[in-house]
Symmetry: C2
Subunit: 490 residues, 2 copies
C-alpha cells in the first residue's frame, strides 16, 4: 500500500485486524521507548502472574504461610541470641553455626525437621569423634606422616560415605546425615591441622548445632505443627474418595447421566496415579515422629503405603476405564439399556465399598458395615455377569416367523414344498457390543481389585494399628437379644 | 517331659523339630555369652548383607563407584590447597567454605552439580549484595534502629523466600538457591553487626565458594562425566523397550506360548509405572547442562517427558492386560485358537512399532520404516477386529438339522404338521468368551495409545530436536529413479 507521503506497511495479525507498521521516519528514541515499554509490560504481567500463583497457594493451604512465618521467627530468635551476646559470649564466632542449622534444618513437617535434626546431631558427633581419633593417631605418628594419614582417611571416608548414599535404605533414612558426616569430618580434620584447640572446635560446633536443632524442634512441634504422619493419614483416604468419585462419574458419563461439572471429578484418579513418591516421602518422615494425636511412635506407616499401592492399582484400572468413554456412542442404545442398571449398580456399590474403606482408615475404627458392603459389591458383580450372560438372547433376535405354504392342487406331486416353520436368526454385529462388554469387564476387574487388594490392605492396617471396634457392632446384637426376649415373652 | 535329673522343657519350632530348652542350672555367664554370641552373629549377618547389597550396586553400575572416587579426589584436592597454604593465605579462615562447598555441591550428574553450583553462586552474590545494602541503610539510620531494621528485614526475607519454595517453578529450579539465599543473608547480616570488615566477609565467602564450585564443575565434567541429559535420553527408549517386551510376553503367555523365564520380562512394565519422578528430576538437571555429545544447550528435554508420559499411559493399559492372565484358562481352546494368531500378530506389530519408536529416540534419526510399521499395526488391529466380528459364527453352532415329517394318510386333516426344516441354534455361553474379548479390546486400546500418543510425542521430539533424516530414505528414491530410467530405456 502506498500513500502520498511514502510507503506504509501493514500486517494482518492473528485476529484478522490490520496493524499499520510504523513508518521509517519515526525517530529512534521513540522506537526504543516503545520496545522498553513492551518489555516492562511483559515483565510486570509475568511478576503479577507469579504473585497470583503464590497468593492462590497461600489461600489454598494457609499452613504453608504459617510455616514461612515459623521459619522467620526461628531465625529472628536465633539471631537475637546472637545480638544479645549470651550465645556469642558462650561459644564465640561459632554461634554462626546455630543460625546455619536453623536455616538448613527447618522443614515443613515435624518428621522432616526431626529427621534432619537427628541426622545432623548424630553425624556431627560421629564425625567429630572419628576426626579427633584419627587426628590423635596422626599426630603421634610423626610430623611427616600426618598430612598423608589425614588426607587418605578423608579420601576413604568421603568416598565410602558417598557410595553408601546410593543404597536405598541409607538414602531413605540417612541421606542428610551422610552429607553432614563428610562435612564435619573434613572441616574438623582440615582445621585440625591448623587450629590448635581442636577439642574446642568440635565442642563448639556440636553445642551450637544442638542449640539450633532444639530451637527448630520446639518451634516446629509446638507452633501449628504439621505432622507428616497425620498428612499421610489424611492423604490416603482422600485419594480413595477421589477414586470412588471418578468411578461413579465415569460410569454415569458412559450411560449418559453425566453433567458438565463431573469432568473435573472424573479426572480425580489422576492424582492417585503419581502419588507414590509423595506417599513414600511422608512415610519416611512419619517414622521419625513421636506419638501425636491418635498415632503411637511405632504406628505402622508401612501399611499406609500398601493401601496406597493397592488404590493405585485400582487407579490404573479406572484410567483404562475412562478411555472406554471415547467409544460409548458406538454401542446401540438397546444393548446399553440392558446393562446400564447392572453397571450403575456395580459402580455405586464399588465406590461405596471404597468410601467405607476410606472411612475405616480416616476414623481408625473398624466398620460393622464393611462386610455387608463388600457382599453387596460381590452381588452386583454377579448381577452384571448374569446380565452379560443373557446378552446373547438380545443379540440373537428371532425375526418374524415366516410361514410360506404352497399348496399345490395335486397333493402327491414331487415338487411339493411345504415350509411351515422357518425361523430366521439375525445376529447383531458383535463389534458394536464389544466396547460395552470390555467396559463391563473392566468394571468387574476394578471391583475385584478393591475386594482382593484394598480390602486386604486396610484389614492389615486395622490389625497392626489395633483399630477400635465399631460402636454399631454392639447395637444389632443388643437389638437381637431384646427381640429374642420379646419373642420369648410372647 | 520329666527325666530323672529334673524337669526338661522342650518346644516345637516352626519346622517341626523339637528344641530342648536349656535347664535352669546352666550358669548365668554361659547364658549371657550365648546371648551375646547370638547378637554378634545377627549383627555380622546384617553387616554382611548390607555389604553384599553395596557390592552388587557397584558391580551393577560402576559409574557410581567412580562418582564416589571423584568426590574423594575433589575433597583431597581442596584440602591439599588448604594444607599447602596458598588458599589459606589468600582468604584466611574462610577457606573452610571452599571445603564445605565441595561437600555440599557435588552431585552424581553434571546437571545436578551445575544446578547447585549456579544456584549457590547466584544466591550468595544476591544475598550478600542485599545484606550489604540493608546494612548500609541500617547503619545510617542511627544505632538505636539498626538491630530492628536488620531483624525485620531478616524475618521478611526469610519468610518470603521460604514461601517461594512452595511454588512449583521455583521448587524445580531454585530450591537450593533459596536455602543458600537465606543462609548467606542471615550470616552476613548477623556477622555484619559484629565484624567491622563486612565487605571482606562477603568477598571472602564469595571467592571461596567460586573456588569450590569451579573445582566441582571441572571434576564432574571432565572425569567420567555422568550427564543427566544423556541418562534421560537412554532411560526413555529403555523404558519403551521394556514395554514392548512386556506386551509380547503377556500375549504369548495368554495363548500358552510363554516359558518360565518370561515372568521377569513380563514385569518390566512396572518400572515404567513409577518413573515420572526420576524422569522429571533428570529433565530438570539436564536443563542446566551445556552442549554435550549430540545434545545442544537448548535440547528440548520437555519432549522427552511427553514421551515418558505417553509410554506410561501404555504401561497402565499393559498393567490391566496382565491381570487378564488370571482368567486365561476360562476361555475354551477353540475360541482362543480363533483369535490367537490375530492377537499375536497385533502384539508383535505393536511391540515392533514401540521398538522402532525407541530406536528413533535413541539414534536421534528419523525412521523410514516407522510409517510402514504403524500401518502394519493398524492392519493388525483391523484383522483382529475382523476376527472378533466373525466370532458369532463360532459362538452360534448350527446343530444337525432335524427333519421331521409326519405324513398323515389324510392329507387334508387339520392336525397335519409338516416340519421340513428346523434349525436348532445353540449359543456358547458368552461368559466364557468375555475374558478373551476384553483381552483383545485392551490390546486394541494399547495399540491405539501407541499410535495416537507415543507416535505423536516422538514426532514432536524429532521435529523440535531436528532429528536427522533416515539414510535409507534416499535409497528407495534412488531405486525408483533408476527403475524409471530403465523403463524409459526400454
Amino acid at each position: 500500500m502506498a500513500n502520498k507521503n511514502g510507503v506504509e506497511w501493514s500486517i494482518r495479525v492473528g485476529d484478522g485486524s490490520l496493524v499499520v507498521l510504523e513508518p521509517e521516519h519515526k525517530n529512534g528514541v521513540m522506537r526504543l521507548w516503545d520496545r522498553l515499554k513492551g518489555l516492562v509490560v511483559k515483565f510486570v504481567t509475568k511478576v503479577w502472574k507469579f504473585l497470583k500463583q503464590a497468593w492462590d497457594l497461600g489461600v489454598d493451604d494457609p499452613r504453608k504461610v504459617f510455616h514461612c512465618l515459623k521459619v522467620g521467627v526461628a531465625l529472628m530468635v536465633v539471631s537475637l541470641f546472637y545480638y544479645m551476646r549470651p550465645l556469642y559470649d558462650g561459644v564465640g564466632g561459632s554461634a554462626i553455626w546455630a543460625v546455619m542449622t536453623v536455616v538448613v534444618v527447618f522443614e515443613y513437617t515435624v518428621g522432616g525437621t526431626l529427621y534432619k535434626c537427628l541426622n545432623r546431631i548424630c553425624a556431627t558427633f560421629l564425625a567429630g569423634f572419628l576426626a579427633l581419633g584419627i587426628h590423635w593417631v596422626a599426630s603421634h605418628s610423626g610430623h611427616r606422616f600426618e598430612p598423608y594419614i589425614m588426607g587418605i582417611s578423608l579420601f576413604v571416608l568421603a568416598s565410602a560415605t558417598t557410595f553408601s548414599r546410593f543404597i536405598p535404605v541409607v538414602k531413605a533414612r540417612f541421606d542428610y546425615g551422610c552429607t553432614i558426616f563428610i562435612l564435619t569430618y573434613s572441616l574438623v580434620s582440615v582445621s585440625g591441622y591448623r587450629v590448635e584447640h581442636l577439642l574446642n572446635v568440635a565442642h563448639e560446633r556440636l553445642s551450637t548445632i544442638i542449640i539450633g536443632t532444639c530451637l527448630c524442634i520446639i518451634t516446629s512441634m509446638l507452633v501449628f505443627p504439621v505432622w507428616a504422619g497425620k498428612e499421610l493419614h489424611l492423604l490416603i483416604p482422600r485419594n480413595m474418595d477421589k477414586l470412588a468419585k471418578s468411578l461413579d462419574c465415569c460410569v454415569a458419563d458412559y450411560f449418559g447421566h453425566g453433567d458438565d461439572e463431573s469432568k473435573k471429578t472424573l479426572n480425580g484418579y489422576k492424582c492417585v496415579l503419581n502419588s507414590k513418591a509423595s506417599e513414600e516421602a511422608m512415610a519416611n518422615f512419619a517414622r521419625w515422629e513421636p506419638a501425636h494425636g491418635r498415632f503411637n511412635f511405632r504406628h505402622p506407616w508401612k501399611n499406609y503405603l500398601k493401601i496406597g499401592a493397592s488404590s493405585r492399582s485400582c487407579a490404573y484400572c479406572i484410567e483404562t476405564l475412562t478411555s472406554c468413554l471415547d467409544s460409548k456412542n458406538q454401542v446401540p442404545e438397546s444393548i446399553k439399556n440392558h446393562l446400564s442398571s447392572a453397571c450403575m449398580n456395580l459402580s455405586s456399590s464399588s465406590s461405596s465399598a471404597m468410601r467405607e474403606l476410606a472411612k475405616i482408615v480416616s476414623t481408625m475404627t473398624r466398620s460393622a458395615k464393611i462386610d455387608m458392603v463388600v457382599e453387596e459389591m460381590k452381588n452386583a458383580v454377579q448381577e452384571l455377569q448374569n446380565d452379560l450372560q443373557s446378552l446373547p438372547d438380545l443379540l440373537i433376535q428371532p425375526h418374524d416367523v415366516v410361514v410360506k405354504e404352497e399348496e399345490s392342487t395335486t397333493p402327491n406331486s414331487p415338487d411339493k414344498t411345504t415350509e411351515l416353520v422357518q425361523s430366521e436368526v439375525t445376529v447383531m454385529p458383535l463389534m458394536e457390543v464389544i466396547p460395552l462388554v470390555s467396559f463391563a469387564s473392566l468394571l468387574i476387574e476394578t471391583a475385584s481389585r478393591i475386594e482382593e487388594s484394598v480390602v486386604k490392605a486396610v484389614e492389615e492396617l486395622a490389625e497392626s494399628a489395633r483399630f477400635k471396634q465399631a460402636e454399631d457392632e454392639m447395637k444389632p446384637k443388643h437389638n437381637q437379644t431384646t427381640s429374642k426376649i420379646a419373642s420369648d415373652e410372647v
